[in-house]
Amino acid sequence: MSISTPGGPERRPTVVSTGKKPAAGRPASGAKAGSGKPTGKPAGSPRAGGKGPRKPIAPVKVSQGRAWGPIALFVAVGVLAAGIIGYGAWASFQGAKPWDKRANAIDGIVNIRKSDPDSLKYEAHKSGPLTYKYSPPVGGVHNAAWQNCMGDVYDAPIASEHAVHSLEHGAVWITYRPGLPQDQIDKLAGKVRGVEKMMLSPYEGLDKPISLQAWGFQLKVDNADDKRIDEFIKDLRVNASVEGPTALCNTGITATGTTPRELQQQPTQ
């Protein structure tokens, strides 16, 4: 293709084509018949049309036609290869990176599922106050009651024993150090309010202004404008659920206070 394309239209046609004419005539037509069904039809009809008005034109075409046979073959193979590669790309695009790989790629995230999986293990629900290794906690044993995580914005600290149960259900729990400027709190609340599997609360003794928790994952940042906050939510909200995407966030504890509560016995019908 690269040879015929630059040489073609300007000066060469007469020289090259006449020189090739005798030799080219037969093999070209033979090649055409053999090389394929795709080129056979479109090539046939115009050639017939060209033959009518002008006789010398026909051989020129034929001589050029011979070059197209192998080229077409190469192109066909190339296109087939491109098709296969294209399908491969399509298939890999379909199976995009899993959420845990994306979460691991967040700068500064701590993956406790990998670094300390034992801290997340537990046998059964345990009532009363519990102690946690990480602050704020990211998983492990918890109370039977979960903290309501239907986009709840709590203005006072909540019990970790309930919050961890919410994490187990796939919630992202955003905590901030008491005293964080109100405009920063408002920005965090904007990411939480009205969104199920999200909750926000202050947390006493936090070593950074803001900390995000999902089951087995933690990310601490200095500023509510940090883009990693949205990445964390995108990758881990619901995905981090231990019990699937439909574990409940409603019918939980809606009260604040760090002392865990026993579930209230409701009057039965």
Binding site: A72, A124, H125, G244, Q264
Partner: protein
């Protein structure tokens, strides 16, 4: 489709450029052939991409389809039991767990029914329920492993006070044991990534719930 249109244009141009007319159309055919093959190649790749999932998706008698159908039936009874307990049980922890089981399993039913739609299969199979289980577990009186009898369901509905908690806990423990048995069967034989993922979550959830149910059973007995 494009062939007739292009040949027409060749006819039109041939007389206007008599000297180079011989070469230009030939070049154009090459380009056209190239373009056509490019299009055909892309279409082939696209068609391959479209068809492959169709050819590889689970069929009507597959383990995956059997699991999706039968686990839907199995889950449906658990949802009914749990909603009964949520309404009438005495212990708040029992009610709390019951509603979580009900909505969780109803959600899983949604996932499994979506699989069947995506696989273009009917929610009802052509083979009898449980025939996909290779270990010979069968349906007895229409009931899969761990399912409560109609009499047990009626008794749960009629129960009062702490008796609701006790019956629910007994029934749900058996139900989960049967459910885990069915989940193990699909985990052992499928290589469908999505089915594996959901079945693993299902099993982990039911196992931790079993621990909590047993703990509550001791509490309800006392």
């Amino acid at each position: 489709m494009t062939a007739p249109a292009t040949t027409d244009s060749e006819h039109d141009e041939a007389p206007t450029a008599p000297d180079e007319g011989g070469r230009a159309p030939a070049r154009r055919y090459g380009l056209l052939a190239l373009a056509a093959m490019l299009v055909v190649g892309l279409l082939l790749g696209y068609a391959g991409g479209l068809l492959t999932p169709g050819l590889t998706r689970p069929g009507d008698t597959s383990i995956e389809a059997g699991f999706a159908r039968d686990m839907t039936t199995h889950h449906s009874q658990a949802v009914e039991m749990s909603l009964t307990a949520y309404r009438s049980a005495t212990l708040p922890e029992v009610r709390q767990m019951a509603v979580d089981i009900a909505t969780g399993q109803q959600g899983e039913i949604g996932a499994m029914q979506t699989w069947l739609r995506e696989w273009e299969l009917s929610p009802t199979g052509s083979q009898s329920p449980m025939s996909w289980m290779s270990d010979g577990a069968t349906v007895k009186n229409g009931l899969m492993p761990g399912m409560a009898t109609p009499q047990e369901m009626a008794a749960l509905r009629d129960a009062q006070g702490i008796e609701v908690d006790r019956q629910f806990l007994t029934l749900m423990i058996n139900h989960h044991l049967g459910g885990i048995h069915m989940i193990d069967a699909v985990l052992g034989e499928t290589d469908n990534a999505e089915v594996l993922r959901v079945a693993r979550t299902m099993k982990a959830t039911q196992q931790s719930e079993l621990n909590n149910l047993r703990q509550l059973q001791a509490q309800a007995r006392g």
